[in-house]
Every structure is written in structure tokens, then in C-alpha cells.
């Protein structure tokens, strides 16, 4: 299958750390392969595929596994270790779409007024100003900077509408990290990520995770806010045709607002990260 070997080199989230109990077994799927997560007495967990143990690590409040004995290193989010941040694993949401479509949507701001109406965007503030995008060859990431958008309620902690600044990182084909204006702590940035578990090429589990400066809202408030946003996206993602992400530019017409998406697709294609993608027009 196209891209499977490349996809096997990466780490993927499969559970929230500490969410399994002793002796519990949880069957799930990764890259179309059945895997089982075993809760253990000392709360260390193991993951097996076809009876064989897979590498496991716990990071960013999630359990990560990979099929590779020599995997690419898990990306770094230095902010995760900053004192004072509230770390918020938001729980899994399953979506019937390519894992790459889920990431691409996360990089998109032009949909805010229509999909996250009155929260992340609202007409008539629909314009996307030019921003910078680059593929950073040294760290092999897509990075978009100087992204700005008017938002009526940018975060649970935001009051009135503000112009919000964003930086986006695609740190792995199925991991996206955004840094955005933090309303209660000017000068700092909230970190919001989308960790995607590819169940197969056309279905994924999405594990949103946040590292925020927010001392006012309850954990339940912050989780609710992020689940609201992501499930609003879900009804879009399940209705994009085809379900896989088309990499042939003839298939879908971009505009200037889509520069991050264009770079993401180009980066995937160049790196052979085409699990979940369509490489030829249909």
C-alpha cells in the first residue's frame, strides 16, 4: 500500500496516559493493523500487534506507539514543560476521513466564520490576510507564521472579539501544533495540538491536546470548548469527497488563503508521506 512503510516510521497516539486500568485490554487499529493495549499492574502499559510487543512511550499526556524499531524521533513541544501551563488532554473523537484531511483542516483559518460561527470567526470578518509559510528543511516541518484572524471568542478565556495571531507547525504528517494569542496572559501563547491516530487511510481517531495559561476555567470548561470546536469540524471532514487527501493540484482548487495547505500537500508528497492521500487525479 502506498505510503504504508513511510507511515510505519512515525509515532502515533492511541490512548490518554493513565486512562487504562489494571488488566484492561483495549483493541484498536493503527494503519489498518489491529493492535492491543494492555493495562498493567504498575500502570505501565504495553502494546502488541499480532502478539509482538511494539515500542511504547508516554508523552504529552498520551500513550504513543510505532511499528518501527528505529522510528523517527517524537517531535518536540518545549512549551509542554513550562511551569504554569495547564495541560489538557481532550479525549478521542473518531472521524470518517483521511487522517491527512483532519490535519489539513486544522491548518485552515478561512472556514472559521462558517464552521465555528461566532466563536472563532463571524461574517463579515472573513478576509484572510497574507501570511508566511515555509517548509523548514533542517527540522523537516511545515511552518506558517504571521497568521491573523478576527475572532469573536478565540478561547474559553476570551471575552470580546480580538484579532488573534497564530503560528502553525506540522511536526509530523499526522501531528499539527498551533500557537495562538493567549487572552489572559499577553505576550504568551496558548498551545493547541491535534494528534491523529490513523485507524486506516479513511478513518482516524483524533486526540486534541492543549497546554494553556488559563486559571479561571474548569478543566471541564476547557475540554468542552475544544470538543465543541473539533466536533464542528468533524461534520465537515465526514463530508469531503474523496475521503482521502488529493495531492494532485488538478483535483482541488486552492486560493491564497490556502498557502499552508498547499505547502502541507507538497511536503507530504515530497516526503512520500502519502498514507491517506490520493496521489493521482480521479
Amino acid at each position: 500500500m502506498a505510503g504504508l512503510e513511510r507511515a510505519k516510521e512515525d509515532w502515533y497516539p492511541i490512548a490518554i496516559a493513565g486512562s487504562t486500568v489494571d488488566g484492561e485490554q483495549l483493541d484498536t487499529s493503527l494503519l489498518g493493523i489491529n493492535i492491543t493495549l494492555h493495562g498493567d499492574k504498575d500502570r505501565e502499559i504495553s502494546v502488541t500487534a499480532d502478539g509482538n510487543n511494539l515500542p511504547v512511550q508516554t508523552r504529552y499526556d498520551h500513550v504513543w506507539t510505532t511499528f518501527s524499531e528505529n522510528p523517527r524521533p517524537l517531535f518536540d513541544i518545549p512549551e509542554a514543560d513550562e511551569a504554569g501551563r495547564v495541560l489538557v488532554p481532550c479525549g478521542v473523537v473518531r472521524v470518517k476521513c483521511s487522517p491527512l484531511r483532519a490535519v489539513e483542516n486544522f491548518l485552515d483559518i478561512a472556514h472559521f466564520p462558517f464552521v465555528h460561527t461566532d466563536v472563532l470567526g463571524a461574517e463579515p470578518h472573513t478576509e484572510v490576510e497574507p501570511y508566511d509559510v515555509k517548509i523548514d528543511e533542517t527540522i523537516d516541518e511545515v511552518i506558517a507564521t504571521k497568521v491573523k484572524f478576527f475572532q469573536p471568542q478565540a478561547a474559553k478565556s476570551a471575552g470580546d472579539g480580538i484579532v488573534t495571531d497564530y503560528v502553525y507547525r506540522v511536526a509530523a504528517p499526522m501531528v499539527s501544533i498551533l500557537y495562538k494569542t493567549c487572552p489572559p496572559k499577553p505576550g504568551s501563547q496558548d498551545v493547541i495540538t491535534l494528534f491523529v491516530q490513523p485507524l486506516d487511510e479513511e478513518t482516524c481517531n483524533v486526540w486534541p491536546w492543549m497546554a494553556l495559561y488559563d486559571y479561571e476555567n474548569s478543566m471541564a470548561d476547557m475540554i468542552s470548548f475544544q470538543q465543541m470546536i473539533f466536533v464542528q469540524d468533524r461534520s465537515i471532514l465526514e463530508n469531503q469527497l474523496p475521503r482521502k487527501l488529493p495531492l494532485d493540484p488538478k483535483m482541488e482548487i486552492p486560493t491564497r488563503a490556502d498557502m499552508t495547505s498547499i505547502a502541507y500537500r507538497r511536503w507530504l508528497k515530497r516526503g512520500g508521506a502519502i498514507y491517506g492521500a490520493l496521489t493521482e487525479a480521479v
Binding site: V92, T117, A220, I223, M228, V231
Partner: protein, 217 residues
């Protein structure tokens, strides 16, 4: 505040109350509950309030209500001065409404369950939930079709009632569970009519009526 609601943003049952409060134009105190992934509705505090371990929970005056039908009747009785949403003195209408309130729990146990599986990976007998969900959608479609032939647009009578509020969420959210609205023209028109109500509020999976915004731009 008129009442306090223990609330979960993705719950269709909690949404019944949020929606009706929006339509009636009343404010309330909302307390977010971490249903997923935290299972907070099964916490000691909330189990003491509601031994059934379900959401929503409404604290209304001295009442603790845990059934959405009771909440809708309480809200209508208390805040709808025109008595159109719950026409308490009309025996035939209230009886018909209660029929649909009962039916709305079938929607929860079929489409609602299927949605928990398809969206939040909960362990559910998914084939049965989906098959029964189709049966439920067909019942609503048949009723709305007959109402349409009589010249009406709502489940009971000539104007919207709490029957419509109670049945709307899980019918509207059926696509979340993989049950599309394509085969149900009467349902589609009814969903649109409810989304067009003054004071309508959305929830994830049910979009804003963009048709009605910025017309003529």
C-alpha cells in the same frame, strides 16, 4: 438565573434544554461536566445528585430534575406565557405531545447510542442501534409527512411544541452516527423549520442557518 444545568456540550439531551432556553429567551447557569473523557457524570458528587448517572441534571427552584421531558414541561409551564409549547389545558394535544416525549427517548437509545460509538468510540451494539435508528427516523418522517398533507409543519398541531424540541436533537445529529438525512425530505424540511426559529441555538454537528445571516451581501 432561572435554573442551573449540569451540561455536556456534545450531549443531545443537554442540548434539548439549551435549545428550549434559547427559544424561550431565558438565561441559566451552565456547569460544564467532563462526560468524555473524564466520566465526571459518574463522579461521587454527581451520582449523589442523580443516582441514574445521566446528564443533564437541572436544579430548578427546589426540584432536581434528571429527565429531559420533565425539564421541558417545567420550562414551558414556567416561562411560556402564551402556553403554546405545552398547551396544558388541551387534553388531546398534551397527550399527543407526551407520546412524542416518550418516543424521544427511543431516539436517544438508538441514534444517540450509535453516535456515542461512531464519534466517541463507546462500546455499543452498533448494528442494532443503527437499524433501530432507521426505524425511528422513518416514524418521524411518516408523522411529518402526514402533518404536511394536513398543511402542518410540526409534530403536533399547527405550531411548534416541546415534542419538536425533544425529538429535534438526535434526529438532527443522526449523520454524526452515520445515518444521513438524504432519504427523509419531510425531516429535512422540519429540521430547517426548527433551525429557523427565533432564538435557535446551534450545537456541534448542527450548523448555523447561514441563509438567514447577511442576506443580500
Amino acid at each position: 438565573m432561572s435554573f442551573k444545568l449540569y451540561n455536556y456540550v456534545l450531549s443531545g439531551n443537554c442540548y434539548k434544554v439549551r435549545l428550549f432556553a434559547g427559544v424561550l429567551g431565558i438565561n441559566y447557569d451552565s456547569i460544564a461536566v467532563d462526560f468524555h473523557p473524564g466520566q465526571e457524570h459518574k463522579s461521587d458528587d454527581l451520582m449523589q445528585l442523580n443516582p441514574a448517572g445521566t446528564l443533564p441534571i437541572m436544579i430548578a427552584d427546589d426540584l432536581v430534575l434528571t429527565e429531559t421531558s420533565a425539564m421541558l414541561i417545567w420550562m414551558a409551564s414556567k416561562f411560556d406565557s402564551d402556553n403554546t409549547w405545552w398547551p396544558a389545558t388541551d387534553a388531546a394535544k398534551t397527550a399527543a405531545i407526551v407520546q412524542w416525549l416518550g418516543f424521544s427517548s427511543d431516539l436517544t437509545s438508538t441514534i444517540g447510542e450509535a453516535r456515542l460509538h461512531t464519534m466517541l468510540n463507546r462500546d455499543v451494539k452498533i448494528e442494532k442501534a443503527l437499524a433501530d435508528g432507521i426505524v425511528a427516523l422513518r416514524r418521524i418522517e411518516a408523522q411529518l409527512t402526514e402533518q404536511g398533507l394536513r398543511g402542518g409543519a410540526w409534530l403536533v398541531g399547527e405550531s411548534p411544541t416541546i415534542a419538536d424540541i425533544a425529538c429535534f436533537p438526535y434526529v438532527a445529529l443522526a449523520p454524526d452516527a452515520g445515518l444521513e438525512h438524504d432519504d427523509y425530505p419531510a425531516i429535512r424540511n422540519w429540521l430547517y423549520a426548527i433551525r429557523s426559529l427565533s432564538g435557535f441555538v446551534t450545537m456541534p454537528g448542527i450548523h448555523e442557518v447561514h441563509e438567514l445571516r447577511n442576506e443580500g451581501d
